[in-house]
Symmetry: C2
Subunit: 431 residues, 2 copies
């Protein structure tokens, strides 16, 4: 199967689209309406929003009205929402500490809905490894196919990077450096910014967002988990200055408990490649480098990924390649063969000028769910569920992929607090 | 005293220059003739070569003839060389494993030379911390002023960086990243390259040269030693391919035991600043970044130092600054005062296009010895010896500065082999 093949039927209306039930979609504010909803709008042949649940039913009703969700019903309770057989996929996009508290009841109530097949969750909210394992078991036991929103894996820049590496265009990787700036975990706090962004263990911090998304993508494009790691987590800015929407200081400080710096270094399991990583919060942003830089050095070439913000999963990027390309040619069976060449170095710059990465990556994630559900690419013997994506092009990240990443994050904190270099080569084991 | 003041008398011939005895100066090959000798040539009013010792006296005689060292005597034995009272400063520049074996006898024999005041040693040869402490005690007991060739401290780029930081132009430092490529510790070995470069514990490797010089300079310009560190030392390329002088492969491999990668991260003692560091050996060199990059981020500005090779002490560099400069103005006493400003950001690029760093930094080191010896800057109550330079502009690095660096290197290896984050805050203690 050629991974460059487009979804064959993606623009043909489906007679039975995937019916989506949303927890946390509000037309008035939040992440879901800016991303998930925009993605579904563009995939209206494959997805249809049929159910909404919010803590206040008025919010659901207003959302149905504002967004003209003519097929959707507002449910008054989690139980009625979860047990409705009018839903094939639950999208769970609640950005509060009640995330975990809602999930287990949802799964329990959903036993009454025999049509439910997919559970789509955000990455990096209040999960500890233990909580994540609990949800993993509950979802497995329910027979659900999980999707976790590590959407950067669908970024065209990430996929192109992965291809350039796998096809041998940079030779053997021998060194990797990553730097990022997650600006908002720094000296200043906008008055309107939600406080959970600045409280440790709320799940949305420099380590669990900026770093975690980036390191997941680094593992994905190199096709390797980590062997040993060492980390140092800093909170060098325990107080933030409140600023208004114009950035003016309001003369008041508030405590901050989330980290503002992470140092991380380690080795990839594959070929013992050294990886150096520095994530910084706080203004000013960097003046001579981009706020996100990934340098991957190989024996035949180099890759560089750059972005304007240390949030790789929602940033438009630029991909630079320079090296001696290997030859690609089809063999008799029509497969593509790669063979070492000794030609001149070439440079490739890949950039989609108007790519809206915040919507685009989520859109491609939904697209891959549709491809799986409808088997758009006609993959023979496609299984009805899969446990994890791992480093495959096809499919989408699952709760198991998220769990492995969650274990790495836990190891980061453990390494930092113990002052130890840790062997993490077993965290990618199934279970 | 204004550190920007030039040496007032530096071009006036001295009636009694510092008489230099050289161990390891050969006109036919080696480091000393390309660097020390060139520096002394330019400081002929302050230094005069009066004595030479090489293992073979013929080499010394030929060197005296070739370089027209009309005041120099070739000594047949280490004892006769060391005990000659015609020498004020011994320069010890032997690049072999016999370095330590020669040093202690030299110091012992030199008791017969009551004029001997200075002992100038190369950095980073066969010293373990224990050996270095032994030499330190022997030299102290002899009352000698030591100089160690951490010559990058005299680089104009390093001094300018130090000034920009100390005067407050980047505000408080909050993050530092360092990457380097010491290319020759990699996949290929030139046939004519000496084998001690590729054997671990010979003292001239990626950790003891590329990394050590760089980290010494980072400490010097920030004015801070390290608090905690973690390191991982790699030998991912245990075999090198022999190549001829044109880079053609000769079809033969040789073993390599020196490291080809170092990951290092830690905190500066001052303000707990996170520092991330990745040093790589091996071709190809980096395609999208310079082979030496130091990024220092502050609350008001950024500094970037770049060089073409991961050998900062002998490389010409470029220094970039961008930030909000503080105001400088003289007070009533004529001193310069620095005061916070709220102006616009400015950019400063500092580059001396034809600066020969290999000679230039050593030259400035010799100049600083002359400044000390002749008190060229008329410093009141200048002591006759000093134990260490530390982070001062004046003076020069001593064996004590070298010993502190040597302890850091030992901690790097210890951290790597133990798999531990180490507290190194006490290695800069005197003794």
């Amino acid at each position: 199967m050629n991974r460059k093949q487009r979804s064959e039927y993606s623009t043909i209306p489906k007679s039975s689209p995937i019916r989506v039930g949303f927890i946390g979609l509000s037309s008035s504010k939040g992440w879901a309406v800016k991303t998930h909803y925009q993605a579904i709008l563009q995939l209206s042949s494959q997805f249809q929003i049929t159910a909404l649940y919010n803590k206040k039913i008025d919010s659901s009703i207003a959302t149905i009205r504002d967004l003209k969700l003519t097929n959707a019903v507002a449910y008054p309770t989690l139980e009625s929402f979860a047990s409705s057989s009018n839903v094939d996929m639950v999208v769970f996009s609640v950005r509060t500490a009640s995330y975990f508290d809602l999930l287990l009841p949802l799964l329990e109530y959903s036993r009454a809905n025999c049509n439910l097949k997919y559970l789509f969750m955000e990455w990096g909210l209040v999960y500890s490894v233990k909580e994540m394992e609990t949800v993993f078991h509950a979802a497995s036991e329910r027979g659900l196919q999980t999707i976790i929103s590590l959407q950067g894996r669908k970024s065209p820049y990430i996929i192109r990077s992965k291809e350039l590496i796998e096809e041998g265009h940079i030779g053997d990787i021998n060194s990797i450096e990553v730097t990022g700036n997650g600006g908002w975990y720094g000296y200043e706090r906008p008055l309107k910014s939600p406080s959970y962004l600045y409280e440790v263990s709320k799940g949305v911090d420099l380590v669990t967002t900026s770093f975690a998304h980036t390191i997941d993508l680094l593992q994905y494009i190199t096709g390797s988990y980590f062997g040993v790691i060492n980390a140092m987590v800093f909170n060098n800015i325990p107080e933030q200055e409140l600023v208004d929407e114009f950035g003016r200081k309001l003369g008041k400080t508030v405590p901050k408990t989330v980290p503002d710096h992470l140092l991380f270094q380690g080795t990839l399991l594959k070929s013992n490649v050294p990886v150096s990583c520095s994530f910084k919060g706080g203004s000013p942003t960097k003046k001579f480098t981009k706020n996100l830089v990934i340098d991957i050095h190989g024996t035949k070439g180099d890759l560089k990924l750059e972005g304007d913000a240390g949030f790789i999963e929602i940033s438009n990027l630029v991909l630079y390649y320079r090296g001696v390309k290997v030859n690609e040619f089809p063999n008799k069976k029509g497969q593509v063969i790669y063979e070492e060449s000794f030609g001149d170095e070439v440079t490739e710059v890949f950039h989609l000028r108007n790519y809206n990465a915040m919507v685009g990556n989520i859109y491609r994630l939904y697209e891959s769910i549709a491809d799986f559900h409808f088997n758009s690419k006609n993959i023979p013997d496609l299984p009805s569920t899969f446990v994890m994506q791992g480093f495959e092009y096809e499919g989408f990240p699952t709760l198991m992929d998220g769990l492995i990443l969650c274990r790495l994050i836990e190891s980061v904190y453990k390494s930092s607090s113990l002052g130890a270099t840790l062997n993490v080569s077993n965290i990618s084991r199934y279970q």
